[in-house]
Symmetry: C2
C-alpha cells in the first residue's frame, strides 16, 4: 500500500434536509434509524455517494428513493467533515436542502411509510438527532432563511393554488417573525409574481379567500435580475402570538 492510497480510506455521503410546509408549520422529513449507530434516533435522510455519481445526483437519488419526487428545488449548503462525526470511520458529508410540496405526496411510497415522518422543524431542532444532524439541520434551516430573503423560493413549498394568508404564514414560519398583513400583501402583490385565479376557497368556516398561482415566467425573470424580500417584524401583539405558538410548538 503506497502513501497516496492512505487517502482513499474515507467515504463521502450526502444528507438531504427535505423541507415541507403543512398546517401552518415548517416541517422536515426525518428517518428513524433501524440500525446502529444511533439506532432508534431520528436522522436526516442521506446515503453514501456512489463512485460514479455526482453530488447533486446523489442528493436527488436519496430524495427520489424516499419520496418518489423528482425535479424539486435542491441546493447545496455545506460540507461537514469533523474527524469523529461518524463512529464507524471517516465520512465527510455534503448537506443539501430540498423544498417539496407536501401536497404532492398523493401516493406514499412503501419505503417511505415504514420509517420516515414529517417533523416540525422547531421541534426537531430541540431533539437529539443522530450523528451531527442537529448541526446540519440548523445550518440548512439558516440557509433557507437567508435564501427566502433573496429569492422567492417559498413558492416551492406551497400547493399550486394558495391564499395570501398561507403564503404569509409560510414566510412567518421560515423567518420566525410576525409580519404585518397589509404590508405583506402590498409587497407580494407589487412583485407581480402571483396570478389571481379568480377562484375562492371553499368550505372554510369564515370568509373564503382568493386563490393565487405562482407565475413561473416572471419568476425566472427575477432570478436573472435579482430580488429582495425584506419586511421587518411587526410589533403588534396579536400577530406575534402565532409565531410563538409555532416556535414553541
Amino acid at each position: 500500500m503506497n502513501e497516496v492510497s492512505n487517502f482513499f480510506k474515507s467515504a463521502f455521503s450526502i444528507d438531504n434536509v427535505i423541507f415541507g410546509f403543512d398546517e401552518g408549520d415548517l416541517k422536515v422529513l426525518l428517518i428513524k434509524r433501524g440500525t446502529e449507530p444511533y439506532k432508534g434516533l431520528w436522522a436526516l435522510p442521506g446515503d453514501l455517494i456512489y463512485p460514479n455519481e455526482g453530488l447533486e445526483t446523489a442528493a436527488n437519488r436519496v430524495l427520489l428513493e424516499l419520496t418518489g419526487l423528482q425535479k424539486v428545488y435542491l441546493e447545496q449548503v455545506h460540507a461537514f467533515g469533523a474527524v469523529d462525526r461518524h463512529p464507524l470511520g471517516r465520512v465527510i458529508t455534503i448537506a443539501y436542502f430540498s423544498l417539496v410540496k407536501i401536497s404532492d405526496f398523493v401516493v406514499t411510497p412503501s419505503s417511505f411509510a415504514q420509517k420516515a415522518k414529517w417533523h416540525s422543524v422547531a421541534k426537531a431542532q430541540e431533539q437529539t438527532l443522530a450523528f451531527d444532524h442537529n448541526d446540519i439541520l440548523d445550518t440548512c434551516f439558516d440557509a433557507l432563511k437567508s435564501k427566502v430573503r433573496v429569492r422567492p423560493v417559498g413558492f416551492e413549498l406551497l400547493p399550486p393554488k394558495f391564499t395570501l394568508t398561507e403564503l404569509q404564514h409560510l414566510y412567518e414560519a421560515i423567518l420566525r417573525t410576525p409580519l404585518d398583513k397589509r404590508n405583506f400583501r402590498k409587497k407580494i402583490l407589487s412583485m407581480h409574481l402571483l396570478i389571481d385565479l379568480d377562484e375562492m376557497q371553499e368550505g372554510v368556516p369564515h370568509r373564503p379567500a382568493k386563490l393565487y398561482q405562482f407565475d413561473k415566467k416572471r419568476y425566472h425573470k427575477f432570478e436573472a435580475e435579482g430580488f429582495s424580500f425584506e419586511l421587518k417584524e411587526s410589533k403588534s401583539k396579536d400577530q406575534k402570538r402565532r409565531i410563538e405558538e409555532i416556535i414553541e410548538g
Copy 2:
C-alpha cells in the same frame, strides 16, 4: 473486498481561493503546476485532506504552508464533486476562500517564491486554470461579493492603516461597480467601525488622506447583530472609468 469498501476508493481535497488586495485591484494567489495533470497551468492551492484532519484544519494548513500566515479569515464555500473533475480518480474537493493582507507578506517563504504568484482576479477568470478551478474561482468570487454586502469582511484585506479611498476602491473591486464617494463615506462612517487615527498619508503627490484603523470590538458587536451594506452603482461617468480599467485590466 466487500461491498462497502467500494465507497472507500475516493479522496477528499480542499482548494483554497486566497484573496488579497493590492494596487487597487483584487488578487488571487495561484500556483503553477509542475507536474501532470495540467502541468504548466495555473491552479488554486489545495491538497488532499489527511485522514485525521478536519476540513477547516486542512484549509488552514494549505494556507500556512504556502504563505506562513495563520488565523486569517477563512470560509467554506462549496463542494465540487463532478465524477470526472480529476483525471486520476474520484476526488471531491471542498472549496474555501481566505482573505489575507498582502502587507503581511514581509518575508516570502521559500515554498512560496518558487511557483506561487498573485494574479488579478479578473484576469485569472479569463484564463484556463487547471481542473475545474475556473468554476471554483468564480463561485468563491461570487461568495465574497455576497459576503461583503452583509458583513464588513473587506477589512481583512487591507493593511492595518488605510484611507477611505482605499476602502472604497476595495469595495468597488469586489462588487465590480463604481460607488459614489460621498455616499460611501457617509455610510461607512455612520457604522462607526473605523477609528480615526489622526494621522495622514505621507509622500503622496496630492493632498494627503486621513488614515483609519478598523475597530474590531465594534465589528464583533455587528457580527452578533447583523449588518447590511447596500450602495447602488453610481451613474457618473468619471467614476465608472476606474472599474472598467480594473475589470478589463
